[in-house]
């Protein structure tokens, strides 16, 4: 399936014509000197082979021809610099010819080797190996897509590495999105002599989500949901084919939260956002429990009991508040029990972490539900790194969506949670819109 003129390796070709704005065209930002004939030749061969193999559609072939002409030189990166984390996707070409291998400059080779032969970088950088997409065809090249993340406060170290590895000598365009693309633009220039091609984060996010979902349709499904969300014993993760995704509500939970209504690939709007996001969960947990990492906070939360911290409906009414259909187990006041001194003294750090997680998650759920009602959308896709290894929150969201909407709303999740912005940035490098 092709999206934005990108050839993928599932053998199916999208016959739909692209909108003109999405057609690949000459990228002015592409560094001229290094757009070498050699690179383009090699790519052209692969591209032709691919298109011959996969399609007989003339217009599609024409598209592929344009692709190879404008294909940027390696390395191919997409970067999303958020408030807390930097997300990096790297395409590792696996179809390098002997000739290419020979021509490949040493710096490029060293970067490729460094990234692909390690799964951790420095003390805080991590490659999410389980998310790696193998044998992916991008712009006529086949290779593996790697997903790497590190904390934003370690960006200087990253830049230092870029400088040490003479990244700038490659004259590649570095496509970056997220607020940090703007905030650290001058640092990239001064510290690593790199010029950033800055991209809007929501554009990238939408593009990334739609792309990853499309390329995953052959293998394990990218999108999934929880079956029987209101029944803990039978709640199970199930794949969800996102064939006809529109309209959908896209909830990106990073440090903060953005909620988008997506009506088509090019038509989306930011409905609202909230400052109560992943950063709030971690920030409050650090203050309340003294923990310092997201993983630590989640671990504590998984062992705690939020009902000791929160005041439930039954704590006030002795049971359900029937007049308004509120079940006794519903939280009446988050942290409400903490108004009392004895109760403050009797709760554990784990309880506090759990309550923080539940409060933030439920709040996101409730704002999302209201947006879905206002926008009249029934499908909600939750993404963002807050959900990484955070099954607690995902199940809670699935439950809340289902329960409070009486089954009207479906909460969907994507495997590549927080990487869509970076993927979108990479796509922008390959196919500038």
């Amino acid at each position: 399936m092709a999206l934005n003129g990108l050839q993928v390796d599932d053998g199916i070709v999208d016959e739909e014509d692209e909108t003109p704005s999405k057609l690949p065209r000459c990228n002015k930002e592409m560094p001229g000197p290094f757009g070498s004939d050699h690179q383009n030749e090699a790519a052209a061969a692969a591209g032709r082979a691919a298109s011959e193999r996969r399609t007989s559609n003339p217009s599609a072939r024409h598209r592929k021809d344009s692709v190879k002409k404008t294909r940027p030189p390696f390395p191919w990166f997409g970067m999303d610099i958020g408030g807390t984390l930097v997300k990096l996707v790297y395409f590792e070409p696996k179809d390098i010819t002997a000739e290419e291998e020979q021509e490949e400059v040493e710096n490029l080779k060293s970067i490729r080797r460094y990234l692909t032969s390690n799964t951790a970088y420095g003390t805080t950088g991590i490659r999410d190996v389980h998310l790696e997409l193998q044998d992916l065809t991008l712009c006529g090249r086949t290779g593996n897509l790697h997903f790497i993340r590190f904390p934003t406060h370690d960006l200087p170290a990253f830049l230092q590495m870029g400088r040490d590895k003479h990244f700038s000598s490659l004259h590649t365009a570095l496509c970056a999105t997220g607020g940090g693309a703007y905030k650290f633009e001058s640092d990239f220039l001064t510290m690593a002599d790199l010029e950033l091609h800055k991209l809007d984060e929501l554009d990238c996010l939408v593009r990334g989500v739609l792309y990853i979902d499309s390329v995953m349709s052959g293998g394990p499904l990218e999108c999934y949901y929880f079956e029987n969300p209101t029944d803990p014993d039978h709640c199970a993760q199930k794949p969800y084919p996102l064939e006809n995704p529109y309209p959908l509500l896209l909830v990106n939970i990073g440090s903060g939260v953005s909620i988008l209504a997506v009506y088509s690939e090019n038509n989306y709007k930011r409905v609202t956002g909230t400052s109560l996001g992943g950063g709030t969960f971690l920030g409050l947990c650090c203050l309340l429990t003294g923990c310092s990492t997201f993983e630590e906070a989640l671990e504590m939360a998984s062992q705690g009991e939020s009902t000791r911290v929160d005041k439930l409906v039954r704590d006030i009414y002795g049971g359900d508040y029937e007049r308004f259909g509120l079940p006794g187990w519903a939280v009446a006041s988050s942290f409400g029990n903490m108004m009392s001194k004895e109760k403050r003294e009797s709760v554990s750090k784990e309880d506090l972490a759990r309550a923080t997680l539940v409060t933030i998650t439920n709040n996101i759920g409730s704002i999302t539900r209201m947006c879905a009602l206002n926008e009249n959308i029934e499908r909600v896709v939750f993404v963002g790194n807050f959900l990484r290894v955070n099954t607690l929150s995902m199940k809670l969201l699935a439950y809340a969506m289902d329960y409070w909407s009486k089954g009207q709303l479906k909460a969907l999740f994507l495997r590549h949670e927080g990487y869509f912005g970076a993927v979108g940035a990479l796509l922008e490098l390959l196919h500038p819109s």
């Binding site: 440090s255 007049r323 939280v331 988050s334 009392s340 704002i367 209201m370």
Partner: protein, 776 residues
């Protein structure tokens, strides 16, 4: 969620001081007649409500029989002070720590034994159930909290003008009070107790909890206590008001380096609440964390409220609950949030008596057989404490003064008459009676507060003089002086205490205070004497008018009304002249009048209009007794009647200054009818009607008029409204737009006001207006 439930009292309680003695004339007044108790016990405050009958003195006019002419004395009538019983609602708010003291006090003073139950609501009701039952011997009958809240909210919105306000911290006036919209439904009520509840109210009996959030005041309090080790809610708010949230929150500019321009998100916007505490490895100050928490919770609730308002297409959103309860900090952050999320489409509204809603509602539930909703009620400015009276940083003075413990009171009087809009208002929802809002106009406020303070001695003197035979007058007058002076002082510091401060509210407050100390009609003697004198001149005045040509007469009639209006004891400049020279005559007044062209002069248009067909019916809001009504207004009315226009004379239901009251006017009209066949036949044929305005104010609120008046005005197809006098046509209604022709006539008897309007003392306002698109 509903209001803060069972908050443990040990988190809030102070040391209970049982030695406190309560001054019975300040708190829990009229307990001896009290019945129908209701109590609302929240997390930290108790609100007690009861109904009492108040026995107080009223001025009654008694006519003498004049049929046998010789037998009649010189006196026209007699104004006697009599006892009358009226209904009053009392609401008292105090901290839960004093509940036992208060219950003891009530038990000791309660005489009435009819009462068997006490309606109770609020999260703390069950906790204190036994205590209440034991102490008072009343059965506690629990009522649903939300139902009470909504009932109370409807009641205050309907009965208290300027109940709702918009809060704007940096504006000239922090509180912008809303005019009473005759149609209060539908609205959204967001109650921020320990959690938050969002309720849509469709009608008196129909409401629905459409949603809510577990994030609320309890979250602020609970999380705040954990983060800052500060136990009390108020202290947390104080911490928050001193903090900088940007050191804890991750702002858009912390991520972007500046703004996120293409989405219109400014750099100072919070991207992630507490986001910095997740990454920065440092200590955060209590103040900063409290501030960040306050923003987080306010923004979140504001956002949810906006989403619900949008979903249900509602633009009126009221906020209440202990999180708000008059705290400027939270009102500010909630307002900010609403403005941000709706871009100004929805306004965050707050209520002056928000803290009482539950108690009012519980009371109304228990009083259904008395049908409280079929009456109109009015806030008693004398007995009510006003906004923020217990707020520690707002009013240290009052705390010190009361010498007991901080409490707040609201008293509402049942009005004799049901009040409605004048059906001739062009747009009732945008009608604002008052010309100048003294809450916003600091210079005018300064002047008027000074003016009323200056006039106080005179009023006290007059009050004493009005009751020569009634004991204790001097003592009561002195109490009145203290009470009113204290009100003026409060208003100097908190002009917003009773809604928009206006000349009208200052006058009304004075009337309420006078009544409170049983001076129902300080001007009775003066009115009597002046009416008497003026009547003697009536025939002569009419005769001299009749001698004039038609056109000259029309001018003379208008001058007569204006000259008559100079006779006003309410105006400082005039009362000095009147006091020093009681013989100050009608002719003298005419000489004092400004020559044409007047300050506002549409006499020529009025004259043109009079050359046309007669009006069907004129509704005349009259002002002073004596020369004004008898020699000024009556000849004018007579001319209208002669033209074939029916006339409805609207006068006050109860005394205010020297304004003629309805009962006085009836006697006067009869007396005039006896000498004037024109008036006599008009009365007989019902072409001249007297109605009461429903008011006892020297000013005029056209949105709160007697129901009968409104009915008569409609039935008679009134096409001309005449408003006379400074109080009714300048301090109020100067800008009032009517759907028919209107005539506003007044003489400016205050040099400061004259100056303001660009005129001088005794300048004339003669404003004849025809509504746009309605040429007569």
């Amino acid at each position: 969620m509903a209001e803060c439930g069972g908050v443990d009292s040990n988190t809030t309680s102070h040391t209970m001081d049982k030695s406190i003695t309560l001054p019975p004339d300040e708190i829990f007044r009229n307990l001896e007649n009290a019945k129908r108790f209701a109590i609302d016990i929240g997390g930290s405050l108790t609100k007690l409500a009861y109904y009492s009958t108040v026995q107080h003195k009223v001025a009654k006019v008694r006519s003498f029989d004049h049929s046998a002419k010789e037998a009649a004395s010189d006196k026209l009538y007699e104004i006697a002070v009599q006892e009358e019983v009226t209904a009053r609602l009392h609401f008292i708010k105090f901290e839960n720590a004093y509940i036992e003291t208060c219950l003891d006090f009530i038990k000791d003073h309660l005489v009435n034994t009819e009462t068997k139950v006490i309606k109770a609501t609020g999260g703390g009701a069950h906790k204190f159930k036994e205590l209440i039952e034991k102490k008072l011997g009343l059965k506690v009958d629990k009522e649903d909290e939300m139902t009470c809240l909504i009932k109370g909210c409807n009641f205050v919105l309907k009965n208290i003008p300027h109940e709702a306000f918009v809060y704007a911290r940096h504006a000239d006036s922090e509180f912008r009070f809303q005019t009473t919209n005759p149609d209060i439904f539908p609205y959204l009520l967001v109650n921020i107790g320990s959690g938050s509840s969002v309720v849509v109210v469709q009608s008196e009996d129909k409401f629905e909890r459409i949603g809510g959030s577990s994030i609320g005041g309890g979250t602020f309090w609970g999380l705040g206590a954990l983060l800052t080790k500060t136990k009390r809610f108020d202290e947390l708010l104080q911490l928050a008001s001193k903090g900088q949230h940007s050191s804890v929150d991750m702002l858009v500019k912390d991520i972007y380096g500046g703004s996120y321009a293409c989405l219109g998100l400014t750099g100072d916007l919070i991207a992630s609440s507490f986001g910095k505490s997740a990454t920065a490895d440092k200590e955060f100050s209590k103040e900063d964390m409290a501030k960040s928490l306050l923003h987080m919770i306010s923004n979140d609730i504001g956002q949810l409220a906006c989403l619900y308002a949008k979903l249900h297409n509602l633009s009126r959103v009221y906020f209440g609950g202990f999180f708000i309860r008059g705290h400027p900090v939270t009102m500010h952050t909630i307002t900010y949030s609403i403005n941000f999320f709706t871009k100004g489409e929805v306004q965050a509204l707050f209520l002056r008596h928000e803290g009482y809603l539950g108690a009012i509602g519980a009371f109304l539930k228990g009083a259904e057989e008395d049908n409280p909703n079929q009456y109109s009620w009015g806030e008693n400015y004398a007995g009510s404490s006003g906004l923020m009276s217990v707020s520690p940083d707002m009013n240290p003075m009052q705390r010190a003064r009361s010498g007991t413990f901080p409490f707040d009171m609201l008293e509402m009087d049942r009005l004799e008459r049901q009040l409605v809009n004048l059906p001739l208002l062009q747009d009732p929802s945008s009608y604002i009676p008052d010309t100048v809002d003294l809450t916003e106009d600091a210079q005018a406020r300064e002047y008027w507060l000074y003016c009323f303070e200056e006039a106080l001695d005179g009023v006290v003197k007059r009050a004493v003089a009005s009751q020569p035979d009634i004991p204790g007058a001097a003592e009561r007058a002195e109490k009145f002086r203290q009470k009113y002076r204290h009100k003026l002082q409060t208003l100097r510091h908190q002009p917003f205490a009773y809604g928009s401060l206006t000349v009208r509210s200052l006058l009304d407050t004075r009337e309420h205070c006078l009544n409170e100390f049983n001076f129902p009609d300080p001007y009775s003697k003066i009115k009597e004497r002046e009416n008497d004198v003026a009547l003697k001149y009536y025939q002569k005045a009419v005769k001299s008018l009749e001698a004039l040509s038609w056109e000259d007469r029309q001018f003379a009639l208008v001058r007569g009304v204006l000259a008559g209006n100079v006779f006003d004891w309410g105006a400082k400049a005039v009362s000095e002249v009147l006091e020093s020279n009681p013989e100050f005559g009608f002719e003298e007044a005419k000489r004092r009048l400004e020559e044409r062209p007047w300050l506002v002069d549409s006499f020529d248009q009025w004259l043109e209009r009079l050359k046309g067909p007669p009006h069907r019916c004129a509704l005349f809001f009259v002002d002073n007794s004596g020369v004004d009504i008898i020699l000024g207004v009556m000849p004018f009315v007579r001319e209208l009647l002669s033209r074939g226009t029916e006339v409805v004379l609207a006068s006050n239901s109860a005394p205010a200054l020297n304004d003629v009251t309805n009962s006085e006017l009836q006697i006067l009209t009869e007396r005039i009818a006896a000498m004037d066949p024109v008036i006599e036949s008009a009365l007989r044929e019902d072409r001249l009607t007297l109605v009461q305005s429903g008011s006892s104010s020297p000013c005029l609120d056209l949105s709160r008029l007697d129901k009968v008046l409104a009915m008569v005005a409609r039935e008679r197809q009134t096409d001309l409204v005449i408003i006379e006098g400074m109080g009714r046509a300048i301090h109020t209604n100067y800008y009032a737009m009517l759907s028919c022709e209107s005539l506003k006539m007044a003489v400016i008897k205050n040099s400061w006001l004259a100056d303001r309007l660009g005129g001088k003392l005794f300048s004339v306002v003669f404003k004849y207006e025809v509504p746009v698109g309605k040429p007569h």
